[in-house]
Amino acid sequence: MIGTLLSGDLPRSKVLSVVMVAILLGLALAPFLFPGTRALNTAATICVFIVLVASYDLLLGYTGIVSFAHTMFYGIGAYGVAIMLDRMPGSWAAIGLGVAAGLAVAVALALVIGLFSLRVQAIFFAMVTLAVASAFMILASQLSGLTGGEDGLTYRVPRVLTPAFKLFQDKLFGVRVDGRIVDYYLVFFAALALFLLMLRIVNSPFGRVLQAIRENPFRAEALGYRTVVYRTVANGLGAGMAALAGVLMALWQKYTGPDTTLSLGIMIDILLMVVIGGMGTLYGAAVGAVIFILAKNYLQGLMGAASEALAGLPLIPHLVHPDRWLLWLGILFILSVYFFPTGIVGRLRK
């Protein structure tokens, strides 16, 4: 049962199994374990990024494709739903239409980019994706009539997903189950389903071909696999998954703007999460997303507390001042790459 659900791709390490179960339970029970808006927001962001980072791992870790356009596809999914909800506030039909349109645009664009540039060298493909993503970001901020420009779009989601909605009259385990929590579970279960779907894809005969292409594209061709076709399909799949992650983020934040979906900053974050977690494992995407987003959201607060506690000492309070949080995040990254070149999951599976 669990074997089928995980497509036979078990964590293969006791520590990793424990970590994965902890992540799953932590996210599944987040509204009850960690009440509060901020904690729930962090949990939802983690869910979305697990999908987003895993879909990037499909490209980078499994197929060996370096793309910088992943946030573009993420943005297309988010904007699809945002634009539709902007026109038809609070409507489920708008969400349906937005998902369909976002998916179609993202996959079609990915297939076109793939067919035109995946037959050439990897570096060239990376440059093309960077150029297309930059162009798209400018386009999104210029077409303000459609996208809200730099300000982005703020819209109303169906009432069931808003705090005004109450699922039960009474509290459940001391928590009022409102639309916010319904929204969270929508994100959580969608993310879980998408993650398991990707786990299935990488363990399918198709997924095995992707790994073969990553290992030795020349040999894969000689075996009869047309690498351009496989790479292009993988690119389309990754883009579709990223767009769905964007949809979830749009439904959670009720706001979509260029900085929260299209920025290259997020692209770098995705890259860091894949590398820290461990490329080509999918579990690494989950571990990387959890660590990175927790660090991003709570490192500053922790450092502020530490800085105050150590107020009397020379120099040290300055080093742990909240303003230095990026420095510490950088150090964390360098240490993790230095000590775990195959990522945390690669290390745990040794």
Binding site: P205, R208, V209, E221, A222, L223
Partner: protein
């Protein structure tokens, strides 16, 4: 040499130029079913390049390749493999971080056209795994099936290269120095296999080989390439006696030395 049966594979004036250098120069040759043709010649004669033109790793500058009378000159390597031209490489060319079994299983999977199945579990396609194991058994590799390909000793990697080729189940099998760098006691395993394929009489085998004793024992026919051109073609005893062959090839040191590179 007229045979009633049309050739399986034929090259006509097959040529490739790299800048001013003509690496394969108007080579015309037909290969019959059930035969084993050895392609010999000194290093740099264009043997591997000729192979690359036939199996589609390189595009021809001029001339044609036909398989069962159908021109395949413009097709890429994957399409040619699907149509029945299988190739083992001179420099071991595997999926280094995948298991030995997975290397062969991928070939079986390609043969079965199962690559575009996205939603089933590869590990549950037992018939593919069984077929992979069958070819591993034939090449004496079954007990190493779970090892990572890169960790195999050189001789076993050469065997795996052959196992992968067999698993493709193509009509044409091309071996590019299959025993290069193998220890003396490992060579017979590979030679037995090639002998078996030849005895099958449904396959067309092309073999690039430096060891003249191997060529002599296996080949029905030898063609000699020199500076990219076909300079001799005939049964082994005849070809080996030719002056041009002695000068071009045998003179460089015969007696089974493995001068690859």
């Amino acid at each position: 040499m007229t045979t009633p049966e049309p050739p399986v594979l034929e090259t006509r004036d097959l040529t490739i130029r790299f800048g001013g250098h003509v690496a394969v120069d108007h080579v015309s040759c037909a290969f019959q079913r059930g035969t084993l043709t050895a392609i010999v010649g000194p290093n740099g004669a264009g043997k591997t390049t000729y192979f690359n033109l036939i199996s589609g790793q390189l595009p021809a500058s001029a001339g044609s390749v036909t398989l069962y009378g159908e021109e395949i000159t413009r097709l890429g390597a994957p399409q040619r493999t699907k149509r029945g031209i299988g190739r083992a490489f001179q420099l071991t060319n595997l999926f280094p971080n995948l298991s030995v079994r997975e290397n062969v299983r991928l070939a079986v999977q390609s043969r079965q056209n199962a690559g575009f199945d996205l939603f089933s579990m590869a590990a549950r396609h037992e018939e593919l795994i069984e077929m992979a194991d069958h070819y591993l058994a034939r090449t004496d590799l079954l007990d190493r099936a779970d090892a990572v390909a890169a960790e195999l000793p050189h001789g076993d990697q050469r065997k795996l290269e052959v196992a992968v080729l067999l698993a493709l189940e193509t009509d044409v099998l091309m071996f590019d120095e299959p025993t290069a760098g193998m220890s003396v006691d490992e060579v017979p395993v590979i030679l037995d296999l090639i002998q078996h394929i030849k005895a099958d009489e449904t396959k067309t085998v092309l073999l690039v080989e430096h060891k003249m004793d191997v060529v002599r024992s296996l080949a029905d026919r030898i063609i000699v390439l020199h500076n990219g051109a076909l300079v001799a073609d005939g049964v082994p005893a005849e070809v080996m006696a030719l002056d041009v062959v002695r000068d071009a090839y045998l003179g460089t040191g015969s007696g089974g030395g493995d001068d690859d590179a």
